[in-house]
Amino acid sequence: MSMGLTIIITGALVAASCGFLGCFLILRRMAMLGDAISHAVLPGIVIAFLMSGSRDSLPMLLGAAALGLLCTFFIQSLRSQGVQSDAAISVTFTALFAIGVILVSLYTRQVDLDLDCVLYGEIAYVPWDTLYLFGNNIGPKAIWGVGTAFILSFLVVGLFFKEFKIVSFDPQMAAALGIPVLLIHYLLMGLVSITTVASFESVGAILVVAMLTVPSATAYLLTDRLETMLAISVGVGILSSLFGYWLSLIFNASIAGSMTVAAGIFFILAFLFSPLHGVVTRWLIRRKMRAATDQP
């Protein structure tokens, strides 16, 4: 596999799985959760590192995923106690991140972690970090990790689609119908944690946060059906990774950064020209109508 292709595939997988879950996040008004999780996992990584004593990625992944879930648990508990949503998110992730940094400096001799690398992983290195099974090179680790996360999310959401949908739309009604709202909530949170963790190790937190929100927000402007929104979001995510990679080659800039910028450009296009909700579209329609009424 060529290097470029590997990077594109990884980016597309990240975009697809994040875009998929991101739709539910923005519909549940929890878009900032990706950012929160990507900061809050730090203590999990440090503890996993201290306990396993290795820089092996599996324990770190588990530690990070555990902390991600814990973070969503804290946020949910605070919210259920009547704490305003933005405060609950902010207080939780800043506290967890701070604890992480304190842990790092407490065990600074044992921890030989490059924080920048953990939190701001670079997708450009993906092709070199390959996985071996029985001594055979089975391809880049990132693709396996993110691919697994994607398939998992796809399966779970597919199985519980109607539950995810009603819990996002009207949790009170869902509870009245006997649907375990909290369980579905944590299922979604667990998927987001796993996907975030699996992705940012290889592509960096910023790309994950971007892919969780930007493509799904774009899709939100383009359709009025949830199923379509999911599909468009995945599509826009994949396009962003392609387009972003191309941009990064042209400008010789960070790949993850360029993919984010590409997604941003798609969003702006949808914001302006979406056939349903675009700013320019609506303006044009209004102008046409005014013209029609002016000269009947």
Binding site: Q81, D86, A87, S90, A98, T213, S254, G257, T260
Partner: protein, 439 residues
């Protein structure tokens, strides 16, 4: 070396003193601005603006080629304002919700910043290593000049919040109404965001992204628990922010090489958690206690009412407790605790006969039962004649419906009119026998 001498030493070190005053100022100013952001449901703005500073810093560096913090400040402020304008535009002109547009702007601006950063690296602008320091913060390196800048900005911010207090209050509570009153809501919002940007940007180099995100919201969220008034909340939030700064700095200076920033966050979080649990009105503990107390009070009233009503109807024997449950369903545990506390007060006596329990009132108990029933029935007729009687039944805060003394007389007359007056008065009973109706 004991802690006291450590602290003494700490205060004699001018460098740490600078750091201390810096972190306190930071806490105070972001506490005040954060309160408005919190009430505007924009608490996460701190996080967003801190991220949005990156492209500004990079741009400033690319344009000037220098690492002068002033240029960084200007660059970060410009992109911060751009970011908040982008957020406003997106939420205003599309159906995208606030939280989504925050996350969107955060990631796209930061992505642009990263692109710039790699540009700088690749095109060899020379040493760019200082750039991320600006973003990730090092309060240990605060020097005199920085603190002066912080102090100046903090005081300016405080003054502005004081001047525009009423306007900001309206903006946070009901912007639509503000617009209808003729306030330039858009402009006010911009000023508030500008102030927020300033508070975040001056904090960044000392504190870093995450600390700024925390300092904006955590003290404000904590302060909200202690008061229902905005002015008090502002003062309190400023105080708690400053306190977090001081505690974090002191702790960091007295323990070996723990970083100041995260300790400040931890201190602020502690203060928040304490507020969440222990604050007197909205705290979890007081809510739980209040619920339990009201439940118990309710159960006690039911027992007394039951006793009295049976006696009123001429039933003099001790009453089987099962009958209470039949009339007023409650858990056995609650009934038991109510009976126990009434016995402890000496208001009732409980006897066991066979497998059942029987209760009877004591002298004091009958008086209390009479008072309870009188109060309940008076509230009842009060409600029926709210319009003619006046007064505020719904007033909240008093325990179960005290009757204002000046309403006693008219309410009694109404009770008599409806035939609802308690027919047996234990107080006059001992003198006048059955039927003494005068309260």
């Amino acid at each position: 070396m004991n802690v006291l001498t450590q602290i003494q030493q700490f205060f004699s070190d001018p460098n740490t003193l600078w750091v201390l005053s810096g972190t306190i100022l930071l806490g105070v100013s972001s506490g005040v601005i954060g309160s408005f952001a919190f009430l505007r449901k924009r608490g996460l703005m701190g996080d967003v603006l801190a991220h949005a500073a990156l492209p500004g810093i990079c741009l400033a560096f690319m344009l000037t080629g220098s690492k002068n913090p002033l240029f960084f400040l200007i660059g970060a402020t410009v992109t911060g304002i751009l970011a908040s304008m982008a957020i406003n535009t997106i939420t205003r002109f599309s159906r995208i919700k606030e939280d989504t547009s925050l996350a969107l702007v955060l990631s796209v601006f930061f992505g642009v910043g990263i692109v710039f950063l790699t540009q700088i690296q690749h095109t060899n602008y020379g040493n760019q290593s200082g750039l991320d320091k600006f973003l990730f913060g090092q309060s240990a390196s605060l020097v005199g000049d920085d603190v002066w800048v912080m102090g100046g900005v903090a005081i300016a911010l405080l003054l502005f919040s004081l001047l525009l207090f009423k306007e900001f209050k309206l903006l946070c509570f009901d912007p639509g109404f503000g617009r209808s009153l003729g306030f330039p809501v858009g402009l006010l919002d911009l000023i508030l965001m500008l102030m927020l940007v300033l508070a975040v940007v001056i904090g960044l180099q000392a504190a870093g992204v995450v600390l700024m995100a925390a300092l904006i919201i955590t003290p404000a969220a904590a302060a909200r628990y202690w008061t229902e008034r905005l002015d008090i909340m502002l003062v309190l939030s400023a105080f708690l922010g400053g306190l977090s700064g001081a505690l974090g700095t002191l702790f960091s200076a007295t323990t070996a090489n723990l970083p100041t920033g995260p300790l400040i966050v931890v201190a602020a979080t502690m203060i928040f958690l304490i507020s969440l649990v222990f604050s007197p009105r909205r705290g979890l503990l007081s809510k739980a206690i209040r619920l339990a107390a009201t439940r118990k009070q309710m159960a006690r009233e039911r027992v007394l009412q039951f006793l009295y009503e049976n006696r009123e109807q001429g039933y003099f024997d001790p009453l089987n407790t099962e009958m209470i449950l039949w009339k007023y369903p409650m858990s056995r545990r609650r009934l038991k605790s109510a009976l126990a506390s009434l016995t402890k007060d000496g208001w009732i006596q409980v006897e066991q006969k066979g497998g059942s329990f029987f209760i009877r009132g004591t002298g004091e108990g009958w008086v209390q039962a009479y008072e309870t029933v009188l109060r309940t029935r008076m509230t009842e007729v009060w409600m029926m004649h709210e319009n003619e009687i006046g007064g505020n039944i719904r007033e909240e805060g008093s325990t179960t419906g005290e009757i204002p003394p000046d309403l006693f007389e008219p309410l009694w007359n109404l009770l008599v009119k409806h035939g609802r007056e308690p027919k047996w008065n234990p107080k006059s009973d001992s003198i006048a026998g059955e039927g003494g109706n005068v309260p």
